[in-house]
């Protein structure tokens, strides 16, 4: 930007000619050089999403059965912390064993309203059970503005493999921690069994 700023103007139309040449160069260039066109043709071309991108939460489950492997223990923390109050949880009356074998409640109803959620990720931050995480899928529009926007437990549940796929650095850490917990619980159970056998 250290050009000759004090140059004389002529006002004879050179500026117009210069502008026309520049636009013509852009016009022709956009047909010849492909990298001039920076537009991504969205539905066909998709930009890879960054790992930290977040849109809407999902519920994690272990194994293949969403009903059996659901990590949520229905503790209501996320429901209470949610700023726009988009989560509705109803606790079950019975219990089922969690990943370490401890009997826990599970959510009989777990609904999140897509139209109310503001993608703040606070539910993820507060969950002590690694049961809720943010998904990267963003094409959530629907033609049904009532039931289509209220996502139930069945629609929210996604397997751990999906989590590993969209969060490749974070998921193995969580998995390692949980494997550690399982190992500890097993060791404890083995020790207890040995003690019982010894006694």
């Amino acid at each position: 930007m250290t050009g000759n700023w004090q140059r004389e103007t002529h006002m004879l139309g050179e500026g117009i000619a210069k502008g026309l040449i520049e636009t013509a160069r852009n016009f022709v260039g956009s047909f010849v050089e492909k990298d001039r066109l920076v537009t991504e043709q969205y539905p066909e071309e998709r930009h890879p999403l960054p790992e930290a991108s977040r849109v809407f939460p999902f519920l994690l489950y272990d194994g293949d059965d969403a009903e059996k492997g659901l990590r949520c223990v229905s503790c209501h923390i996320c429901e209470k912390e949610c700023p726009p109050r988009c989560i509705t949880i109803e606790k079950s009356t019975d219990k089922k064993p969690d990943y370490v074998g401890k009997p826990q409640f599970y959510p009989a109803v777990f609904n999140i309203d897509v139209s109310v959620c503001m993608s703040c990720q606070i539910c993820v931050e507060v969950c002590p059970f690694d049961a809720i995480r943010m998904d990267t899928a963003f094409e959530l529009s629907t033609s049904d503005r009532f039931d289509g926007l209220l996502w139930t437990k069945e629609k929210l549940a996604k397997p751990n493999s999906h989590y590993r796929q969209i969060h490749p650095t974070e998921a193995p850490e969580v998995d390692a921690r949980r494997a550690d917990d399982v190992a500890k619980a097993e060791a404890k159970a083995a020790a207890a069994a040995q003690k019982e056998a010894g006694a």
Binding site: L12, T23, A24, F27
Partner: protein, 402 residues
């Protein structure tokens, strides 16, 4: 000889078809059918050209900015105008509560009607003109100035400060630029000695060697063509003279309170005016429907008219992509301090051209004299507009260039 006959029949195919159809209708219906056969093609072709131009303009501007432009509806996005039309038709038509409903309704109707009326005197091919008027050019300018009325009706009846500002700008601009527009075509009328567009085209239809006798190839015609097209761009509110609808200042100008199809009508009228005034520019300076070289006369005359029209439209799009909008004072200074003196000199130059002796080396002297008469004032007037201003590096008080 055979090829000549067939070329001529292709050239006159529409004229002959028209005559044949009229001859085969019952005598009481003949006047009505004759009128319809002239009016309906005009009502079909030019809005069709408008639809094509909107998509080409958006694609062209996109390419100028290294974008794709519309490319989703139909092959290459060419059906985009259909989608736009459906959108305009299905949108809610809002009339402001405090608006003058009658004038508000009439403005888009009148502007489209006057825009169409201008086509009555445009020769779009050999023997292809809707109305054979001896004072066709006069009619064209009279009808052209009626659009100002519609613009002011729209701006006033909307009862909105932006629309009124836009209308006032439009009136000031259109009246200022109507003078150079008309004066720049006066030279052609002087040389051709007629106000009839057909005869003006006929006067330019001859050839010297392979080169045509278009007025744009004379010094005064060259200057006149550029002055005419500049004034035409201003007259039709075309960029860089689109102040009446300057989006960044007054949102949409005089049609701010129009929605749905009424807005589309304004849009249509604007483009119809551009085509009409470009058509007049072609008629006056670019030889109308005549071929650019003597060996190309086998191509039908109406092809040449539309080819020239498309070239001018492309130029308008190109200029829109290149130039920023003028400021109001720059616009007025340009009209009164540059355009007006240049058009007066163009008339003087045309007069000298007409009365110069034609024998011996005089044509060369004539050419030089007429060219100098225009080139020297061009430089001087441009310097005068400059007012000793210089482009200087802008100094910012708080923000620094990094």
């Amino acid at each position: 000889m055979m090829t000549l006959v067939s070329a001529h029949s292709v050239d006159q195919v529409f004229v002959n078809l028209d005559r044949w159809l009229v001859a085969h209708t019952p005598a009481p219906l003949q006047p009505l059918v004759a009128i319809l056969l002239i009016v309906v093609p005009i009502l079909a072709i030019f809005p069709g050209l408008f639809a094509l131009t909107t998509v080409l303009e958006r694609k062209g501007l996109g390419r100028i900015q290294n974008r794709y432009g519309p490319n989703r509806v139909g092959p290459l996005g060419l059906l985009q105008p259909v989608a736009d039309g459906i959108k305009a038709l299905t949108k809610e038509d809002i009339v402001p509560r405090s608006a003058d409903a009658l004038l508000h309704f009439l403005a888009p109707v009148i502007i489209v009607c006057t825009a169409f009326l201008a086509y009555a005197v445009l020769p779009i091919g050999r023997n292809m003109i809707a109305v054979h008027l001896d004072a066709g050019i006069l009619f064209f300018f009279a009808i052209g100035s009626a659009t100002e009325l519609a613009v002011f009706m729209a701006g006033w009846s909307s009862r909105n400060k932006y629309s009124l500002l836009g209308a006032m700008r439009a009136i000031a601009q259109m009246i200022s630029y109507e003078i150079p527009l008309i004066l720049s075509s006066v030279a052609v009328i002087m040389i051709a000695g007629t106000l009839s567009p057909e005869q003006i085209v006929t006067a330019q239809a001859g050839f010297t060697g392979i080169f045509p006798h278009w007025y744009v190839f004379t010094p005064w015609g060259f200057a006149g063509f550029f002055l005419f097209m500049t004034a035409a761009a201003a007259e039709t509110n075309r960029s860089p003279f689109d102040l009446p609808e300057g989006e960044s200042e007054i949102i949409a100008g005089y049609f701010i309170e129009y929605s749905g199809f009424k807005f589309a009508l304004f849009f249509l009228a604007e483009y119809l005016e551009i085509f009409a005034v470009s058509g007049l520019g072609i008629t006056l300076f670019l030889g109308g429907w005549s071929a650019p070289f003597s060996f190309l006369t086998w191509i039908p005359s109406w092809c040449w008219f539309f080819a020239k029209l498309l070239v001018l439209i492309a130029t308008f799009i190109w200029i829109r992509g290149a130039l920023p909008r003028l400021r109001m004072d720059q616009l007025m200074n340009f009209a009164w301090k540059f355009m007006l003196p240049m058009t007066l000199l163009e008339i003087l130059s045309a007069g000298i051209w007409r009365f110069f002796p034609q024998s011996g080396f005089w044509p060369v002297v004539r050419w030089l004299a007429c060219a100098l008469l225009l080139a020297v004032p061009y430089v001087l007037l441009a310097r005068g507009l400059e007012h000793g201003r210089r482009i200087e590096k802008r100094v910012y008080r708080y923000a620094e260039e990094s």
